[in-house]
Every structure is written in structure tokens, then in C-alpha cells.
């Protein structure tokens, strides 16, 4: 019928299913050992799957995140793009980007969306809003007591819609929503600063997520992908509840903090650095931030918004990390 | 328009005698006089008593629907009418579908009646305790008894008889549930054993049935094909004239033969 039925058009058959053998996979512990090296192990690309790829046809594996069971032949199929990982019988696909599920102990940054009965709803970039119970915050006065009806009435004075807080995940409810708490001086309402949104998967899990960087800026790297950057006032712990330190008058305290132009520039520069890292999909943690900050110093703060500069910084950080990986 | 004209057009009838009119057609608005012999009269569906507001005395009895006036033995009068909508009475057996499963103590039930909400306590089953009680899902069918119908509140259903036994009440599995006019259901339920339709059908196709006063009927035969055929027959019969029942049953009989 036609001259060029095959050949010219890029036609391939659609139903060809790739299959990944589970026995090529390394167990998660081995990946943990690689962490120090910083660079990706070569075999990860071999475990690459896309939605619809059959992970295994064998029975007896447990379905983890990023996989589903095909009802027709009971095979385990990937549902997100990523690398297959296996812990004993549990098979998961670690997706890139993706949804933030949350684990107990995660540090998160969030924004209050609703004040409800005895609880706040907090947008933490998850699939459901986080829940902060009135009983899981420290009262502004610092007392330890049962929450009274007056406390309930005055909830909006403590945290109101739009306030940004840092918190820790206390527990996960049955329906998958996350319970938060701020019962530590590290957490609570955040003062002046700026919020940057990055994919949650590029925040590297570390022991500490709250850092005072030498450039005079403190950052809270929320596991949920929200990063809070604030100027570091003299001697003040970053992210502390500003009202708490001076119990006599919180409003005056907020105004007392003098933010100099240099502070602002440092915050802005770090914000642009984080944007550059996120654009190049580099992991975000204290070291990578410092690398990026150093690399950026040869540019004006505003120049960092240029795509080519962003790419260059990403490249420099990548090299630095590779060097460090080789050194250790 | 003067008084005489109106009476001609409206044909309003007043001062009728309840006993005289038994078996006759009564229209809404017809007024009946209070029986002189001060014996107790019980009014059923379609009849209401009107009380004079000033003297607080019984004035008349008025028909509020169209239907045939019937009398039951001890001075009970009611109207027999064709209707598709259900009016609840205590101890009625009704069929329902679970509409919602709330976290509280009740299932809310769809009883196929717009005006009526109904609920069923999760404990109102045979042998149910706080710990052990049947776990029903949304969409399951239940056969229950009306325990109470408080004004402005949902009907209260129960799936146990006062004796504590289920005696047929409870959730129904499999089969098919469908709606027929309420008067057809009434005919099914009140028919004498001789001309009971369900028994006649049962002789052709053995099947389980449950008939709710609210117009829902549940049928379960040995397989899907027979269930659908029985359901279809009942739906056809509900629209048919009682004289034609025989021909429909014969037709049904021959269809079933071809299937089995």
C-alpha cells in the first residue's frame, strides 16, 4: 500500500515489557554505605524502571511504595519512575520528585492553613495537611499544664493562618495524615525569613536539619521540601521561638531584630543557591549549600537568577562533591 | 361567584355517613359526620379528624386522599388507594439499603422514600453485643422492622424481633432488590394463601423473597438468570391487571423451561 511502511517512521512495538531481575539489586544497607561517596553507584541506572515496567513476576514479594500488583497476572509492576530497591521481601521504587509521605522524626517546615477545634491544620507539602494539636505545642508562657478552654479560645493568638512554623513529625495517623509537635525550643513559629520550595526527595536525610551557616544565615531544611532561610541574629539560635526568649512582649521582640542589608543579601544569595541546586537536582544538605554559596561569590546576587549561572553553579558543586567523594 | 354555583362545580360532599359509604369511592375533601353512637372510631390512612379550635371538640372527619373506603372489624376505617410512596407505620417490615456507614452507632438506610430518612442501630441484630456485631458495608441490603417513627427524626429500624430472635430479619446476601408500587406490595402481603402470587411463582422457580412495606422487593433464586427472570416477572405484574396474572405466569413458566 505504501512505499515507506517501515523504515522512515519511528515505529516500534508498544507491548514490549522490560523486566528487571531482582537478584541484581543490592540491599538498601549497601546504598547507605555509598552515602559518604556522594556520587551515584553505577548499578542504580540498571535498576531504572518507568511506570508499567514489570519489577518481578515471582510471588512472595511485598508491595512497597511505587509499585502495584497487576490484577491479571499478580506480577509486581512499577508505578513511578525511579530505581528499584529491595529490603528483604519488600520491594520499593524510590521515585525522583514524588510525593512526600513523611516519617516519624522528620523535621518539617509548614504553613498554618486552618485553625480548628483544639488543632491547627498545617500545609506541609504532603498529600494531606499535617495536624498540630493544641496539646503538642509549648504554651507561649512556657508552663506545663493541661490546656484549658481559654487556651482554646486564644489559639489564634499563638498561631494564626499564614504563619510559618517548624515542627517535627510525632506520629502517622491511620489515614496517612501526619501529627506534628513543636515541643522543643528548636521548633515553633518562625520569625522574619524566606521560604523556598524544592522537591522533597533532594533534601538529604541527616542527623541535623537546622544549621547555622558561616555566612551568617540559618537554614531549616524541612524533609518535606520546604526550606526556611533566616538571618542569624547575634548569638540567637536559629529557628527558635522568638517569643519564648523574651516572655514579656513578643511583638516588640520581633521588631527589635535589626536585619541589616548584608543579612538580606546573604539570605537572598542562599535562596538563589538553593534554587540552583534544585534546578540541577543536587542533594541539599549543609555541605552542598556551602559549596554552592562559595561558588556563587564571584557573581552578584541578582546574576544568580540567570539560567546559565545556575547551571554553572550546579556544575561546580557537582565537581566539588565528586572530589570529596574521591577523597574519602 | 355565589354559593350555589360553587357547590355545583366543586361537588363537595358533606355530612356523609362512614358506614354508608364503605366500599364507595371517596374524594379528597369529602366530609363525614361524627358517628352518633359515641363508640370509638379508629381512622386509618387517608382520613383525618378535624377539631374545632374554639370549642376544642371533634367537628368532622375529612378525607385527604382519593380511594375506596374500607372498614375493618372494630370500627376502623381507612382508604384503599394506589400509591407509589410509602407511609410508615410501627411494626412495618421494610427493606432498605445501607446508604452510609458513620463512625457512630448507626447505619443510615435508604428506604426508597424521599421524605423518609431511616437509621439502624449497629447493635440491633440477633446476638449482637458491643464487641461482636455484624460489619455491614455500604450497599448491603437489610430487612428490618420499623421500631419507631418520631416526627422530624429518622425512622428507627431494628433487625431483631422483640423476642430477641431475628426470625428472618437481618442482612440479605446475593439476589436482587428492586422497587414496585406500594399498593402492589400490599396486595402481595395481604393475599390469601390460595391466590398468593409469590407462592405460585415459587412453585415454578424455587426462590427466596422478602417483601418490604416500603415497595422494595428482594428476590434470590438459584442463579443470576432465574433471579433476573423472577424480578422481571414481578415488575411486569406490578403494572398489570390482576386478571392477566394467569397468562403472565404461564408465559413465565414456558420461559423458565427453556432456560433450565
Amino acid at each position: 500500500m505504501s512505499r515507506n511502511q517501515e523504515g522512515e517512521a519511528p515505529l516500534i512495538s508498544g507491548g514490549s515489557r522490560r523486566q528487571v531481575s531482582l537478584f541484581d539489586l543490592r540491599v538498601r544497607d549497601e546504598f547507605a554505605n555509598d552515602e559518604a561517596k556522594g556520587s551515584a553507584p553505577v548499578s542504580r541506572a540498571a535498576n531504572y524502571v518507568t511506570p508499567g515496567t514489570i519489577v518481578t513476576k515471582e510471588m512472595g514479594f511485598m508491595r512497597g511504595h511505587g509499585t502495584f500488583v497487576n490484577p491479571s497476572d499478580q506480577s509486581l509492576v512499577a508505578s513511578v519512575v525511579g530505581a528499584v530497591e529491595r529490603v528483604n521481601r519488600l520491594v520499593t521504587v524510590r521515585g525522583i520528585g514524588g510525593v512526600y509521605y513523611g516519617e516519624v522524626g522528620d523535621v518539617v517546615v509548614g504553613r498554618i492553613t486552618k485553625v480548628m477545634q483544639k488543632r491547627w491544620k498545617v500545609d506541609i507539602n504532603g498529600r494531606l495537611d499535617g495536624i498540630l494539636l493544641l496539646s503538642s505545642i509549648n504554651l507561649p508562657t512556657g508552663e506545663l499544664r493541661r490546656r484549658s478552654a481559654e487556651d482554646e479560645l486564644g489559639m489564634r493568638e499563638v498561631l494564626k493562618e499564614g504563619d510559618v512554623i517548624s515542627a517535627e513529625i510525632q506520629s502517622v495517623y491511620n489515614d496517612g495524615s501526619l501529627a506534628l509537635h513543636t515541643r522543643s525550643v528548636k521548633y515553633g513559629k518562625l520569625g522574619p525569613g524566606t521560604l523556598v520550595k524544592v522537591p522533597s526527595s533532594i533534601i538529604k536525610r541527616r542527623k541535623n536539619h537546622i544549621h547555622n551557616l558561616p555566612c551568617g544565615v540559618s537554614v531549616i531544611l524541612g524533609n518535606n521540601g520546604y526550606v526556611w532561610i533566616s538571618p542569624l541574629p547575634n548569638g540567637r539560635m536559629p529557628g527558635t521561638n522568638l517569643e519564648e526568649e523574651d516572655a514579656d512582649g513578643k511583638n516588640t521582640v520581633l521588631e527589635e531584630i535589626r536585619i541589616t542589608k548584608a543579612d538580606r543579601m546573604a539570605v537572598a544569595r542562599l535562596k538563589n543557591c538553593i534554587a540552583a541546586l534544585s534546578k540541577s537536582w543536587l542533594p541539599i544538605y549543609d555541605t552542598s549549600l556551602m559549596y554552592a554559596y562559595e561558588a556563587s561569590t564571584k557573581y552578584e546576587c541578582g546574576e544568580l537568577l540567570r539560567p546559565d549561572v545556575m547551571q554553572e553553579i550546579g556544575e561546580l558543586v557537582r565537581q566539588q562533591m565528586a572530589l570529596e567523594g574521591a577523597g574519602s | 361567584m355565589d354559593e350555589s354555583d360553587r357547590s355545583n362545580i366543586g361537588m363537595k360532599r358533606a355530612n356523609l355517613d362512614l358506614n354508608d359509604e364503605v366500599g364507595n369511592l371517596v374524594m379528597p375533601g369529602d366530609e363525614f359526620s361524627i358517628p352518633k353512637d359515641s363508640s370509638k372510631v379508629i381512622l386509618g390512612p387517608g382520613l383525618r379528624s378535624v377539631i374545632d379550635k374554639r370549642s376544642n371538640e371533634l367537628k368532622t372527619i375529612i378525607a385527604c386522599k382519593a380511594g375506596l373506603l374500607r372498614k375493618a372489624k372494630p370500627n376502623t376505617f381507612f382508604l384503599e388507594m394506589k400509591t407509589r410512596s410509602y407511609h410508615s407505620f410501627k411494626k412495618d417490615d421494610v427493606l432498605g439499603i445501607i446508604k452510609q456507614k458513620s463512625k457512630g452507632e448507626h447505619y443510615s438506610i435508604d428506604v426508597a422514600c424521599r421524605e423518609l430518612r431511616a437509621q439502624l442501630s449497629k447493635n440491633a441484630f440477633e446476638g449482637a453485643t458491643k464487641r461482636y456485631r455484624p460489619d455491614l458495608q455500604v450497599g448491603d441490603c437489610i430487612y428490618g422492622k420499623v421500631m419507631d417513627f418520631p416526627k422530624d427524626y429518622p425512622l428507627e429500624l431494628t433487625c431483631v424481633q422483640p423476642s430477641g430472635k431475628a426470625c428472618g430479619l437481618g442482612s440479605l446476601n446475593g439476589g436482587h432488590i428492586f422497587h414496585v408500587p406500594v399498593h402492589f406490595v400490599r396486595a402481595l402481603r395481604t393475599a390469601s394463601p390460595k391466590d398468593n402470587l409469590l407462592q405460585k411463582i415459587g412453585r415454578i422457580v424455587p426462590c427466596e423473597t422478602a417483601v418490604g412495606a416500603n415497595g422494595l422487593v428482594w428476590v434470590k433464586a438459584s442463579n443470576a438468570v432465574l433471579t433476573i427472570l423472577v424480578a422481571q416477572l414481578l415488575q411486569t405484574l406490578s403494572k398489570a391487571n390482576p386478571d392477566e396474572y394467569g397468562t403472565y405466569l404461564n408465559k413465565f413458566n414456558s420461559t423458565v423451561r427453556t432456560v433450565v
Binding site: 505504501s2 515507506n4 508498544g14 511506570p51 525522583i96 514524588g98 542533594p283 | -
Partner: protein, 248 residues
């Protein structure tokens, strides 16, 4: 007397008005993460001069007005299609509320509901926004491809890729990927399939097509879909290679 035109000559040699052979696709480019990091996932899909952008937000807490009637065990998928006022030859004043856009929105939603694993995020909402920038034929199929790519970019678990292409039969030759010029002269059947199972999930017909030809046109379209799938896969793989580093 009918006289032969230049196009008829071309047809004899099986060359289409824009110089393609019948089974040739137009130039395709796609890019993921165009709204990064504002949206959870985003993608653009260009096929010839047809340009579509898609963005996915969520899953997040249900925020729309549907909340009242919403069953907490279910997930809401919300799709909104709009075409830019300058996307086609006739400039349109408002494009969001007209019947055509509403139809495409609701069709897109039904496709998305089938590829996203059902009720994996109970009580949450996923928003898919698709914007047609330029329409040169095959816009609905481009929307489906862009939306699929954006879902993959967002990391939302999906069963399979939904890929779509247009196909037709003209002068008793099956053709794939119809452009706006050809659309005026023949039927345009939009065919979408699930890439792995080859099940048809989208069918949309403009103009008249002989029922007799349907099988051939479907076969042609399914082949075209396979080609599109390969291109989408390539885009996804490139993105993965770029992001590999951050996987820890």
C-alpha cells in the same frame, strides 16, 4: 472538467502536503519540569506546531468546593483544560467555560482516573491543568501526552502511560498525525492507548469515517502511539539520569 492539482501529484507519490510520508510523525519535542518547582510535576509536549503545556499539583488536602460531598475514602482528580485565545486562527474571547473545553476537561479526567492507581491517596486531591498554546492539529492527543508526562514528573503512581495520536484514512491510505491543513479534508480519529497493554482508552472522531476503515485506522494509530511512547520514555530517562545524583 476537473483538473489535477499539485497536491494530487504529490498524492500519487504518497507525499502529504507538508512533505511527510503517510506514516511519518511530525517533529516531537517534550520537556519535563517546565514549572519546577512551583508545580509538583509539569511538562510540555510539542508535535509540529501544536504546543501544549501541562502542570500537576498535588496530591494535597481537598480544597475545592467538592469537599462537602466528598467520600473520605476516595481521591478527587480535577482536570482543567483551556486553550489560549491565540491558539487557533479565530481569536476566541473566553475559552474556559465553553462546551468544547468542558468536554475535553471531563474526557481528560476520565483518562487520568484510569491511569492513576485508584484511591492510592484517599482524601486527597490531584489537580491537572492543561493549556493549549497553539493548535495545528492533534491538540487533544497532545494534551493527553503532556498530562501523562506531567503525572510521571510529579511522581504520582500510575498504572501505565496513556499516549495518544491522531490517524485517518484518505485516498485509501492510512495516515498518522494529522495536521490542521489535512484536518479539513479528511476524518480525524484521536486514538489513545495504554502503552503496555495496548488497550484503547481514548477515541474521538471529527468528520466522517467509513466504518469499514476503522480497523486499519486503529492499527495505524496504535503504531503511532508506540512511537510516541518511545519518545516519552526517552524524555523520562533523560530526566532520571539528570536526577540520579540526588537519590540517596
Amino acid at each position: 472538467m476537473a483538473y489535477r492539482t499539485h497536491l494530487d501529484d504529490l498524492w500519487e507519490q504518497q507525499i502529504r502536503p507538508d512533505g511527510r510520508t503517510p506514516h511519518e510523525l511530525r517533529n516531537i519535542t517534550c520537556q519535563m519540569g517546565i514549572f519546577h518547582p512551583q508545580a509538583s510535576g509539569s511538562a510540555s509536549f510539542n508535535i509540529g506546531n501544536t504546543k501544549v503545556m501541562a502542570a500537576v499539583y498535588g496530591p494535597h488536602e481537598v480544597r475545592s468546593s467538592q469537599k462537602k460531598h466528598h467520600n473520605p475514602d476516595k481521591m478527587i482528580i480535577n482536570c482543567e483544560y483551556s486553550s489560549a485565545t491565540f491558539s487557533s486562527n479565530e481569536r476566541k474571547s473566553s475559552t474556559k467555560a465553553d462546551r468544547k473545553s468542558m468536554e475535553i476537561s471531563s474526557n481528560l479526567r476520565s483518562v487520568m482516573e484510569h491511569i492513576i492507581i485508584p484511591d492510592i491517596f484517599p482524601g486527597s486531591q490531584i489537580d491537572v491543568y492543561v493549556e493549549l498554546l497553539q493548535d495545528d492539529g492533534g491538540s487533544y492527543s497532545a494534551c493527553i501526552n503532556a498530562a501523562t508526562l506531567a503525572l510521571v514528573d510529579a511522581g504520582i503512581p500510575i498504572r501505565d502511560y496513556a499516549v495518544a495520536i491522531t490517524a485517518t484514512m484518505s485516498h485509501s491510505v492510512c495516515m498518522v498525525d494529522i495536521n490542521a491543513q489535512e484536518r479539513g479534508q479528511c476524518a480525524e480519529l484521536t486514538i489513545g492507548v495504554l502503552a503496555q497493554s495496548n488497550e484503547i482508552i481514548v477515541l474521538e472522531l471529527a468528520n466522517l469515517l467509513q466504518n469499514f476503515y476503522l480497523k486499519d485506522v486503529l492499527d495505524e494509530g496504535i503504531k503511532g502511539c508506540a512511537a510516541i511512547y518511545k519518545i516519552l520514555e526517552e524524555a523520562v530517562r533523560q530526566k532520571f539520569n539528570k536526577m540520579e545524583q540526588s537519590l540517596v
